[in-house]
Subunit: 333 residues, 2 copies
């Protein structure tokens, strides 16, 4: 879309539009929700993806001035910024200026990132299309990927928080990114979070193809899926066991079956087994001399059962063979 | 283990040992089984991994001369050859000579490859530790990986058959490579095979840790798992529908949910949906103008149900939401 032909005057703002946007950001804040505001995206029918640097700056100065006072604002420079380059909308070289401008204009230093396109045959084995997240004005990684294994490596590489903004959606549509099952979604959350990352949830259930009813992410409202309850249960388990954040453990060696994290106070270790089926384990990655009590967490049925064994780094212990379990350890010595 | 201290005389062979080995290879042939004979490996208590080039050559000349006449012999230069370098047993530079020697000594040109070590945190996102499979004396790729997505890319890169010799095992032990569920194992087989690769099956069920009873791969015999029946069913479906080999399809674009292959005669397309849950599909990767009838394959329950729709590249169709299904198309025009 040629910006000259859309009928939009990019130099003049429509205050009532932005007042409406402010109200919606306030609504989210009242619900306890952070608003990760996307400033540019490639799905553009109005020319906003091709305004050019001068108008981009004008737009950013206006929007940051209006919205930086809201405490629940995060800045996302773009959704799928690299696709915008592929589509000839905005070159890869444009983003450093945009990011620096947001950073300089925002007196409150809100969280700031940029989000990548993802096509597994091209991107599953590489991070080459990611933005350079080492830039000092970027506060965290905002990743689209279903490749949830490498969080500890990426934490080590980038030394910044990692958020999977799109790790697939629970839904029933014809695309890989939107047909994850509830069990698959919960599985991704445990694997991401217990290896030290963060994830966002969304739904893409729809009644039929080419429907006039848009998917949940376009309108919000009631969640119809089954994963959100289990994600809430995980959140509660983390909150009540001192996991203000998660330090990944067991990231080397043959423990492929596990995603493991330790609480910052080192009193708890949370090991997710998922759809693997070991019947005995040895947690040889535990700190020497530590002894723990254990609960078996059924992540799907949201139950916790005491395991009648003391766990340490030296001894095998038995676990029932059942999918989607986790072991939550509490230090007792 | 220092070869000088093991008590073995590497220059003199024990014919009765090799006669025994020949009998076992004959036994396998009588059962219709290929014997992928591993010539070196890093789990060595006898010094055979450190004999040096002269004795390696002597050993290879003897074993190839003895065994090349068996029609079911494949040569695997090593299990986990790169781990042998890490352990100081045999440098990476040793293998080209070994491989060329096998190739030159074998008058029958049996299949010949070499097998890599795999530690997901290091190797899941890279193939850097793979041997250079472009070497002309290598007939196929012999891969250890649970990363079963990239078969079409690797087929394109190497232009040789790709065998996942270890894509994990169905079992219940404490290691990621040996605790796959039956459903996970069947899932890996469909994903590998319908994207154009080959896979081997094995079991690692064991009754308890540190047991005196070795796992199946060490003794063979009765399979106790549930995946082997479904893998046999897949094999039958392939054989009866013209899939002498599989040409991967739908390897670009948003069809993450599928693993799809076409039969060489182009009369059949086999699309695996797995644990994804689309309720409608559009197979926009099908050849233009082709029309197909369809069966829904329940890969776990091993049933086939006719789908009362004609499938082509232009129209959506409905499928029931159920895990581990596949769609088998038969061309009707």
């Amino acid at each position: 879309m040629d910006p000259q032909k859309t009928g939009f005057d990019y130099s003049t703002f429509n205050p009532s539009y932005f007042q409406h946007l402010e109200q919606r950001i306030k609504d989210l804040d009242a619900l306890g929700i952070q608003a990760d505001l996307i400033l540019f995206h490639p799905y553009d029918s109005w020319g906003f993806a091709r305004m050019g640097q001068a108008m981009d700056k004008h737009y950013i100065q206006y929007i940051v001035a209006r919205l930086a006072s809201y405490k629940n604002i995060w800045w996302s420079l773009a959704n799928e910024y690299d696709l915008m380059a592929q589509l000839g909308q905005k070159p890869l070289s444009a983003w450093d200026f945009i990011g620096k401008t947001v950073h300089q204009e925002d007196p409150s230093g809100h969280l700031l990132s940029i989000h990548n396109f993802y096509d597994p045959p091209v991107h599953k084995g590489t991070t080459k299309n990611w933005f350079d997240y080492t830039k000092p004005w970027i506060t965290h990684l905002s990743i689209q990927s279903d490749n949830v294994f490498f969080v500890p490596k990426w934490l080590d590489d980038f030394q910044k928080p990692i958020i999977f903004d799109e790790c697939r959606y629970e839904g029933n549509i014809e695309f890989g990114w939107g047909d994850n099952s509830a069990k698959g979604m919960v599985d991704s959350f445990y694997r991401i979070v217990l290896r030290g990352g963060y994830a966002t949830h969304g739904e893409t259930y729809i009644d039929k193809p080419n429907t006039t009813r848009p998917i949940w992410w376009a309108h919000g409202g009631i969640l119809r899926g089954e994963s959100q309850k289990r994600i809430t249960y995980l959140k509660q388990l983390l909150a009540t066991n001192g996991f203000n954040y998660v330090n990944p453990m067991a990231v080397q060696g043959p423990h492929w079956e596990l995603a493991v994290g330790e609480s910052p106070d080192k009193q708890h270790v949370f090991a997710y087994i998922g759809d693997n089926q070991p019947e005995f384990e040895i947690f040889d990655f535990l700190p020497k001399d530590n002894i723990y009590s254990a609960q078996v967490i059924d992540t799907w049925n949201m139950t916790s059962t005491k395991l009648n064994e003391r766990i340490d780094k030296n001894h095998y212990f038995h676990i029932p063979r059942k999918p989607y379990q986790a072991i939550l350890l509490t230090k007792i010595n």
